[in-house]
Symmetry: C2
């Protein structure tokens, strides 16, 4: 097979690279995504909307991956066949109203928000006339943020949810979006928006709020203790260094599920407390063993840890 | 200055290398310690007591750092000027009875246990007639264990508590022990045994039991969620993979302080829950900010993270 035939078949398999990918928001996730898409030849052009003037100037002055940065979302999306909203969660739905009249008829619109039900409902309603919306949640966050920390490998080896509503008939678009994330090195899981929100409440939001509560608790202790902390504490609280604004928005959008997850966690913690109170060494050990077995079975190969 | 004079002054400064260091217990901590002490020329000879025959055979067959491995603690400690008990916490006090009659009059005895009050009380009582006991707690644990994971750099850059009783007049021995740990690259903090147990209940034991409770909670969820976990969850639960037996012993020996720390933590978590229930975005953000500020101020240079 000659190269062109081979490459053609790869394109078919991929479902097509995009002529123009528009990234809305040039923070850590947006900038890393634009850079990765360009490097991996998944986008002919990358256009960006950035709210802040200094970011636009920086991008237009010479970011190799960004063909043009715009001051208006509606301008940035013109001509794009893939649009990815990469702003903080609470601003994503506002963007839909800004861009809905300017997109191509065949545009695929997605986002990278960590909570999906509300975003996907608004997305579906916003793009009934033109375009197709499917939510995404690439689990590529970090306690770092901003364009200056952008890294085209941020998405590699991480999980990504793609969250169509079960009653939608958009298989071709789902495949296209799935392939896009997979081409960035992600492992894609399809779930409904509500299942997504239930799952991440437990595996992502709960750990975050526990890490924050532990850090909050320790902040009340003498600062002389700071220098005594070991690697265990530092690992356990690492994500507490994440952006409070972003996590407040997540808390707002997934409040119900997070509260249920906290209830269930406290039930587990109560068992441990009772075993401690009663000095039941065997029960404590069994509890710890259950946790150990769980932790040990978590896959390590698909993570950067 | 010629070399001998220079070296002599270094010895004075150090407080003397030890003629013979005896390590009781050749697990991760003991084997790593013996290897490090030999590599850094802090011990003329390293003798080891190992409970299991196959470990003794392995050591006697050719561990470069171990001069001889013994089947009886009382034999292993003969001639040692430094003895370090490196068994699991619950077995440390038993060792004191085994060795008290066999040690040198001037032997310095210490241990590496993570809980200090009970060990130090028994240690002081056990070595009234011969030797001096001072507790140590090098914070060099890992979720790994065993001789096969030994690493002479395990102690480097970590914190170490040295925990004499405040009313003891053993300044020379404290300095000797402090210098020993510092020569291994550790940062030493002196506290009383009870202050130690209070501090580690919050900065070490509480994080451990929270990580375990989170892992326990998630073990009840569908195993299909395992593959979806991100780096945040993995960091937050990493220490839950630690040895359940060891942590059961720690729970037993520091039960009171751990329960108090859990009470206080739950009070903090309650604040967060109330803010979530009441949808008080500002209060949630302030809570998360307090945690973020704490986590960011933790020193990163003195850790392997």
């Amino acid at each position: 097979m000659n190269f062109c035939l081979w490459w053609g078949s790869k394109l078919d398999q991929f479902g097509g690279v995009f002529e123009q990918v528009t990234i809305l928001g040039a923070g850590l996730l947006g900038a890393s995504l634009g850079e990765a898409a360009k490097l991996k030849n998944l986008a002919g052009k990358v256009h960006v909307w950035a709210r802040r003037k200094e970011i636009r100037e920086k991008l237009n002055a010479g970011a190799s991956w960004c063909d043009r940065a715009f001051a208006q979302p509606a301008e940035a999306v013109k001509g794009a066949d893939l649009i990815v909203a990469c702003t903080p969660v609470e601003h994503i739905v506002e963007l839909f109203a800004d861009i809905r009249d300017s997109i191509r008829n065949d545009a695929l619109v997605t986002d990278v928000g960590s909570v999906k039900q509300q975003i996907c409902e608004t997305g579906r309603a916003s793009f009934l006339a033109k375009g197709v919306f499917i939510g995404s949640h690439p689990m590529a966050g970090s306690e770092k943020s901003g364009l200056e920390n952008a890294d085209p490998r941020l998405y590699e080896g991480r999980n990504c949810f793609v969250t169509p509503f079960p009653d939608e008939n958009i298989d071709a678009e789902i495949t296209k979006l799935r392939n896009f994330w997979e081409s960035l090195g992600m492992r894609v899981t399809l779930t409904s928006p509500s299942d997504h929100d239930l799952i991440v409440a437990h595996i992502s939001h709960l750990p975050h709020f526990l890490a924050s509560a532990l850090a909050y608790h320790l902040s009340k202790k003498p600062s002389s203790w700071d220098n005594l902390c070991g690697g265990g504490l530092k690992d356990t609280t690492r994500i507490a260094a994440g952006d409070p604004g972003m996590w407040t928005d997540i808390a707002k959008q997934n409040r119900g599920q997070i509260l249920l997850a906290l209830d269930e966690f406290e039930e587990s913690l109560k068992h441990l407390r009772e075993h401690l109170h009663a000095e039941e060494a065997h029960a404590i050990k069994e509890f710890l063993k259950t946790g150990q077995t769980y932790r040990r079975r978590l896959p390590s190969s698909y993570e950067s840890d």
